[in-house]
Structure formats: structure tokens, C-alpha cells
Amino acid sequence: MFRRLRDDGEIVTIRVDGRLVDAVAGDSVAAALLAAGVARTRVTDGRGEPRGPYCAIGACFDCLATIDGIGNRRACTVEVAPGMSIETQGAKREITR
């Protein structure tokens, strides 16, 4: 769905739902997910409808994901880091996450 304009960045390996994914240094988590073909980061609280990166500037809160064990983080405002673990959310955030 998305392709990178440049392919010369430094590779940063992250985990997405347990799967190893190559991102590029400087990517936001949202950009890395889209580049890896993951468009759904969460479902809505009410009707369980799929949501993913939309505004990509921190305003819409659609790209919420669990990042390094903390739920409901805006994937578009967090930069990837080596070894980072990202989990997409299939339900409301739990208070333990």
C-alpha cells in the first residue's frame, strides 16, 4: 500500500505483534507499521471497528497501539528504536498495560 521514497536509511529492527520487522531510523512507529503493511493498529472502544494512522501528526488518536508494554500510545508520535515491541490492540486498553 505504501512504498518508501528512499531506501538508504539505517535499518532498525522492531517487533510487531511478535513478528520481526525492519524499519528505518527516524521512522515514526506509524510510518514503520504502514511500510510493513500493518494498517490497523487498534479497534474502536464502542463498535470494535478497525482504526489506524490517519492524521499522522498526533491530533486524531486513531493510531493508538501498545508500545513497549504501555497501551494507547499514539504510534505517529513515537520514533522507532532498536528492539522496540509494538502490539496492535484488539480491545480497550487494560489498566495493567
Binding site: D45, N72, A91, K92, R93, E94, I95, R97
Partner: protein
């Protein structure tokens, strides 16, 4: 200027006015609710939505009994609202907790409740005291600072915005008329009729019910009554929606049916000021996360403040005018808890013009006229 005629005009479209309207409309459909616009002070849209009994009735056992009666009527009331309107107001009565963060807080709480219970005429309010170990089996997320809690099976909560919508929906289904942007400027009583001047035109009605919250203090004297009410600010924090972790309402923390955690822990006598302030919100958040440490992880998504409609003694005020027969005034800070009493009891008395009915005697502002013993 347009002129309308109704049997009964209710001034105020909040929880009190809407409950009265809902209760009267089936028998007297020529009824109108006159409401203000969007910028009105609206306690009914800012409240915490507890249906609460424990701690009520200090200094006035009759108010404790009135509150208990309401709590016992709530389930059937919620069912009839849903049957009629299809709106589930999410009433739940698992019992509620009041959490103490120190031994001293708990002791003071127990002394206050014991004093209320000991008053002559006070109905028996179910109450248990739980130590932290017992409490943890019911509220597993409590933190190490929690010293204990009081529990009453009478307590519960609902979705008060849905309650307001259900009352308005039912009122209209019964043929009632809702008039927004009808702020009342003045009321005149002559020849058995009330002429109500509003910014939406003059309204004429045979009977008038003042349910205008804090504005009742201004309106009631126009029809021969006193309504000594003053604003008490309450602030609320709302978190993002979260998986269920709190199965019971706590007096200052509750999780809504949709997963939002509401924190409401302020009582401020600062006049007509509806601003939310960071110092109070921070103090509330601090207490809440000492009760439930994992709350600290959640994002707060909204905060707001609203003004409680507080009668001088913290109870309720119900008045039937002697000077202007057909005029009534109602004021309370417990529009959620007492909604069934308003909808089912007071509405019937007003529909039948029972001016001397017991609640109008027991909860009259005349109780403030009794000289205090020296």
C-alpha cells in the same frame, strides 16, 4: 410577542424539571418545559451520576428516608424508562464504597455515619466496614495506602446523560412540549394564571413549577417563595476508556458502562465560577491514584467543572406557594439519586394540585425560619 397556554409550565430542563415533566405528562399533556440555551449553568450535564445513600441525612433524618426511598425505587424506574424510550440508563446497584486513605479518615467517616444513623427517625442504612484485606477481594486494584472503606448495598450509579435524554424523550412521547431558549425574566400571577415573560415570548400557564436550579433563588420570590440555594463547585476528570477493573462505584472514583474512569472529589464554595483548575484537579488525581495506583498510567482525556445546586442545609427544598396557589419550587443537589421520587411522587402531587402533600411540608424552606436555640 407570541402567547402560549399550558396547564403546567416547568421552568428548567435539567434532571429535576425533566423528571417532573416526565411524571406529569401522561395525565396532563398540556405541559411545557421552558429551558435556557446552551450557555446555562447545567448541573445535570456535569454531575458524577452516583445514586448514593450512605452519608445522606445529617441533620435531617427525613432526607435520609427520602433518599433511601429513591434508591429503592431506582431499578423499576430505570426499567420503565427503557421500556418506554428504548434508552438504557445503565443503572447498576452493586453497592458502593467510600475509601479512606488513613486510619484517621476512616475513624472520622465511621463517626460521621454513626452520628447520622443515631438520629431519631433515621431509617436503618445498611453499612459495612471493610479492612484492606477484605476490600482487596472486591476492589483488587487498591493501593497500599488504603486504610479501609465503608460499603452500603443501597448505593449505585447510572449514566446521567442517558437519564436526562430518556426523561426528555419520554416527556415528548407523552405529548409534552420542550421550549429551548426560553430564559424566564419575570413571572406575574393574576386571576389564577401565571404569565411568564421569557426571551422566547410570553408563556401563560395555570400552574408553574420552578426547577431552575440555582436560578430558583431569583425566580421563587416572584411567586411568593424562598429558595435559599447556593453554588458548590465540583470538578471531574475523565480518563480514556479502559477495560473493566472497577466493579463497584466508589464515592469519588467510578468506571462508566463505556469504560471511562471518572474522578470527582471536589466541593468548593467559590460562587458562580465554572472553571476547572489545575490545582484542584491535581489534588483529585493524587488521591485517586493513591486509592488505585494503576490509574496513574491512564491518559486523562477531559476535565470539567459544574455547580451543584446546594440548599442551605445540604438537603432538598420542595415548596408549594401559599401566596400564589399553583406555584411550586424544587431544588436539590441530588437530581440523579432523587429522580424516581421527583418523577413518581412529586409529579403526582403537582398534577393533582396537592399543595399540602407531605414532601412540601417536610422539605419546605420554612425550616430555616425556626430560631436557633441560644
Amino acid at each position: 410577542m407570541k402567547t402560549f397556554e399550558y396547564d403546567i409550565a416547568i421552568v428548567g430542563g435539567g434532571l429535576v424539571g425533566a423528571a417532573i415533566g416526565w411524571g406529569i405528562a401522561p395525565s396532563r399533556p398540556r405541559i411545557a418545559i421552558l429551558d435556557e440555551g446552551d450557555l446555562a449553568l447545567r448541573a445535570s450535564r456535569g454531575n458524577f451520576a452516583l445514586v448514593w445513600v450512605q452519608g445522606k441525612g445529617a441533620g435531617m433524618p427525613r432526607y435520609g428516608m427520602w433518599t433511601l426511598r429513591a434508591a429503592e425505587s431506582w431499578e423499576a424506574f430505570a426499567e420503565s424508562l427503557e421500556r418506554q424510550t428504548g434508552i438504557d440508563v445503565q443503572y447498576r446497584q452493586p453497592g458502593g464504597f467510600h475509601i479512606a486513605l488513613s486510619r484517621g479518615e476512616l475513624d472520622r467517616r465511621l463517626a460521621d455515619l454513626a452520628q447520622i444513623q443515631a438520629q431519631p427517625g433515621m431509617p436503618t442504612i445498611h453499612l459495612e466496614t471493610l479492612d484492606p484485606a477484605a476490600l482487596r477481594t472486591l476492589l483488587p486494584e487498591i493501593g497500599p495506602e488504603v486504610a479501609g472503606a465503608t460499603y452500603s448495598k443501597h448505593d449505585g450509579h447510572c449514566n446521567s446523560l442517558r437519564l436526562l435524554r430518556a426523561l426528555h424523550t419520554g416527556f415528548r412521547l407523552h405529548g409534552g412540549t420542550y421550549l429551548a431558549d426560553h430564559r424566564v425574566d419575570s413571572i406575574a400571577h393574576a386571576h389564577g394564571e401565571f404569565r411568564i415573560a421569557t426571551n422566547g415570548g410570553e408563556i401563560r400557564a395555570a400552574s408553574i413549577v420552578l426547577a431552575a436550579g440555582l436560578d430558583n433563588a431569583r425566580l421563587a420570590p416572584m411567586v411568593g417563595m424562598a429558595m435559599p440555594v447556593h453554588p458548590v463547585r465540583g470538578q471531574i476528570l475523565a480518563t480514556e476508556k479502559t477495560g473493566r477493573f472497577l466493579d463497584y462505584p466508589v464515592s469519588t472514583v467510578r468506571q462508566t458502562d463505556e469504560g471511562t474512569v471518572l474522578i470527582g472529589d471536589s466541593r468548593e464554595e467559590i460562587g458562580f465560577d465554572t472553571r476547572a483548575t489545575t490545582d484542584v484537579l491535581a489534588a483529585m488525581a493524587d488521591r485517586a491514584q493513591r486509592m488505585f495506583p494503576r490509574l496513574a498510567r491512564l491518559n486523562v482525556v477531559r476535565s470539567w467543572a459544574a455547580l451543584r445546586v446546594m440548599p442551605r442545609d445540604g438537603s432538598a427544598l420542595y415548596e408549594a406557594s401559599s401566596d400564589c396557589p399553583g406555584a411550586y419550587a424544587l431544588a436539590t443537589h441530588s437530581g440523579v439519586t432523587l429522580a424516581p421520587n421527583h418523577a413518581l411522587v412529586l409529579a403526582r402531587h403537582i398534577a393533582r394540585a396537592e399543595r399540602t402533600a407531605e414532601p412540601f411540608q417536610a422539605f419546605s424552606a420554612r425550616r430555616f425560619d425556626v430560631p436557633k436555640a441560644a
